[in-house]
């Protein structure tokens, strides 16, 4: 295979053997549960990568689409609502719903200048949280919606103890998303995305219908983000409260894309591993270690690893842009696009 497909294959294969290695390790060192988070964020970041990496449209509200996916999945499947379509139809329906949400936001705003669009998406991210909080008749407000169904393959539904089944399900979805995104990247559409990212006016003068192409990127990204939202809600069996989908989530996704290498799939996978690994493996283990030593907690603000999150994300962004502007695994577009 050409291009970076090698790198993608290697990463995904390594991911597939993690649970096997994991079983051999003592409980405190097991990471497969945290790696599930990596998969979810990788899917989310792949969605963001279509919008911001390929088409160059900075979307600061990707978490809003994740929230839309999570709540759509919840309302369609939870037993407190009459719809109860089941896990698979629910998950599949998050895709068109997310795409529709992307269309609704994009239709009037995609003609705006780049940074104006960034602000509009940022605002959208806040508004969606407000809406989910305020429409509590429908969304149960800050309680979140639960319980949500898990997938079942003929037999009984999975429970929390089936963690390796979850692991492989998420991995499988990730692989499918990677394949689809790759198919789009290496097509006429992907080429149009790269071209408008580099020079919108020149592409327009070559007859590319910029609005339509941007809209496809925006909706595709939103659909993938919604899928990530639906999956994460199902894993947790709850949507959680609306503020679980706040600006921090959008920025974590952005960090993944920027640190990994904007515009490349392999980069996004590496970025997800690094950033989410830092966020939910290193920080969590550090907090546990500090707690075991009897320090940290409420007393001193500096001693709680959680309080360093913003600083870490911030530094990651500033340093990545400064030192490795193309990311850890930069895409080589002229090679991959054939």
């Amino acid at each position: 295979m050409r291009g970076r497909f090698g790198a993608i294959t290697i990463i995904l294969t390594c991911a597939a053997v993690v649970p096997i290695v994991d079983l051999a390790l003592p409980e405190s060192l097991r990471i497969s549960e945290a790696v599930r988070g990596v998969f979810l964020y990788a899917i989310l970041a792949l969605g963001l990568n279509v919008v911001s990496g390929y088409a160059g449209l900075l979307n600061l509200g990707i978490a809003a689409f994740m929230a839309i996916g999570a709540y759509a999945f919840a309302i369609l499947t939870c037993e407190i609502y009459p719809f109860q379509v089941g896990f698979w139809p629910g998950i599949l329906l998050t895709l068109p719903i997310g795409a529709l949400a992307g269309f609704v936001l994009g239709a009037p705003t995609l003609r705006l200048r780049g940074d104006y669009l960034a602000i509009v998406t940022l605002g959208f991210g806040e508004i969606v949280q407000d809406l989910l909080k305020n429409l509590d008749t429908v969304t149960k407000g800050t309680q979140g919606i639960n319980p949500l169904p898990s997938p079942s393959f003929g037999g009984e539904a999975w429970t929390a103890s089936d963690e390796y089944k979850w692991y492989y399900l998420l991995l499988a979805v990730l692989v499918i998303v990677v394949l689809f995104v790759r198919n789009l990247e290496r097509s006429r559409l992907g080429r149009a995305w790269f071209s408008i990212r580099q020079d919108e006016l020149a592409s327009r003068s070559m007859g590319i219908r910029v609005e339509r192409v941007k809209m496809l990127a925006f909706s595709t990204g939103a659909a993938i983000a919604a899928l990530a939202g639906g999956l994460s809600a199902s894993v947790l069996s709850s949507t959680g409260e609306p503020s679980n989908y706040d600006f921090q989530v959008s920025i974590l996704a952005l960090c993944i894309v920027i640190v990994g290498g904007i515009g490349g799939i392999a980069g996004v996978l590496v970025g997800a591993l690094v950033m989410v690994g830092l966020n939910s493996i290193v920080l969590v283990k550090a907090a546990a270690a500090l707690a075991a030593l009897g320090i940290g907690g409420q007393g001193n603000v500096l001693l709680s690893p959680n309080n360093w999150k913003y600083l870490i994300f911030g530094l990651a962004l500033v340093l990545a842009v400064r030192l490795k502007p193309d990311g850890l695994l930069p895409p080589r577009i002229e090679r991959s696009m054939r």
Binding site: S52, G56, L58, L60, P108, T109, R111, L112, R113, G114, D115, Y116, A118, I119, V120, L122, G123, F124, E126, I127, D130, L131, K133, N134, L201, F247, I251, L254, I258, I262, Q298, G299, N300, V301, L302, N307, W308, K309, Y310, L311, F313, G314, L315, A316, L317, V318, L319, A320, V321, R322, P325
Partner: protein, 318 residues
């Protein structure tokens, strides 16, 4: 209260808040005007200014001062926060933005978002400083009370409409600053250099204008305005928190865009518009929908006037 009194009261509240928003918006619009960057960290610089003001207040023990001395205390906080925020903003430009002048706009914006997060985190740590004004620094993330240095008594006596010394303070601080800024940009050598760099940095450099220094000074002035705004905000609202920069920054940036980014009168007009819309929406619709209303307004204005109310369209050079 009579309906018209309610309306007038909201008008006063809206204008006061609008003035503060406008002051922050000026910082955004100046920086955007000169290097086309949404200085994402500006809101957080503003937030840190408020924390510095509260620290000064605590260190100097201003709460115990007599009312006349308190005016001096406010002046100290204004100057201190302005210098601090200006310096901080200048430092951000020096450290995080200057090396990216030739990079893509996206990288620059991402760097600014990173700075914003770093500043937010500094605010969180600052809230954990064990001082009395920070409630001993126990709950670092909790909002902090900002003492009422300027009394909230009603100057109109028994009237149903309230105009407080704090309202007056807002006007007394913001209006001269705005006038001074317009004078600076339109009438001085420095202002001319700023406008030249904004129009074409390369040409300005060839004409012997020290572009980086001019940009640095713009950042300083923008940050200083944010510093003034932070003290006024804290005195007016009496509560500050490490996450307020995000919210205030968002309002202020919306104001700058609504008015037409890059335009100083536009930023003021936008700030007042946002302040009024917020106040009216709080009163006549439900408070919880205010953000949604403001967002809807932003989208509508951008659809029908893509460069804002007072903005001019920039043509791409082909």
């Amino acid at each position: 209260m009579q309906p018209h009194e309610v309306f007038l009261q909201q008008l006063i509240t809206g204008l006061s808040n609008g003035m503060i928003i406008a002051l922050i918006a000026l910082g955004y619009t100046m920086v955007y005007g000169i290097i086309e960057l949404i200085n994402f960290a500006h809101g957080d610089v503003f937030m840190l200014g408020a924390f510095l003001a509260l620290t000064l207040l605590g260190v100097l023990g201003m709460e115990a001062w007599s009312p006349t001395w308190r005016i001096g205390g406010v002046a100290i906080m204004l100057v201190g926060s302005a210098l601090f925020c200006g310096g901080l903003n200048w430092t951000l430009d020096r450290v995080a933005y200057r090396s990216l002048r030739r990079a893509s706009k996206l990288s620059l914006l991402v760097s600014a978002i990173g700075c914003s997060f770093i500043c937010t985190n500094l605010g969180l740590f600052w809230g954990g400083v064990p001082m009395e004004v920070f409630a001993g620094g126990v709950a670092a993330a909790a909002p902090k009370d900002f003492p009422q240095l300027i009394p909230q008594t009603n100057l109109l006596g028994a009237s149903a409409i309230r105009i407080t010394p704090a309202d007056i303070a807002v006007v007394v601080v913001t209006v001269p600053l705005m006038i001074g800024l317009v004078f600076l940009v339109n009438r001085t050598r420095m202002g001319r250099a700023m406008r030249a760099v904004a129009q074409d940095a390369t040409a300005a450099a060839l004409m012997g204008i020290p572009v980086d220094r001019v940009i640095g000074i713009t950042f300083f002035i923008g940050g200083a305005l944010g510093g003034f705004a932070s003290v006024v905000y804290a005195l007016y609202n009496n509560t500050i928190g490490f996450q307020m920069g995000y919210r205030a920054g968002m309002d202020a940036f919306t104001a700058a865009v609504v008015g037409g980014i890059g335009s100083l009168p536009g930023a003021v007009l936008g700030g007042l518009t946002i302040g009024l819309v917020r106040a009216m929406s709080d009163q006549y619709l439900e408070t919880q929908w205010t953000n949604t209303i403001v967002f809807g307004m932003l989208v509508m204005i951008l659809i029908f006037r893509p460069s804002g109310l007072l903005g001019t369209t920039r043509r791409e050079k082909v």
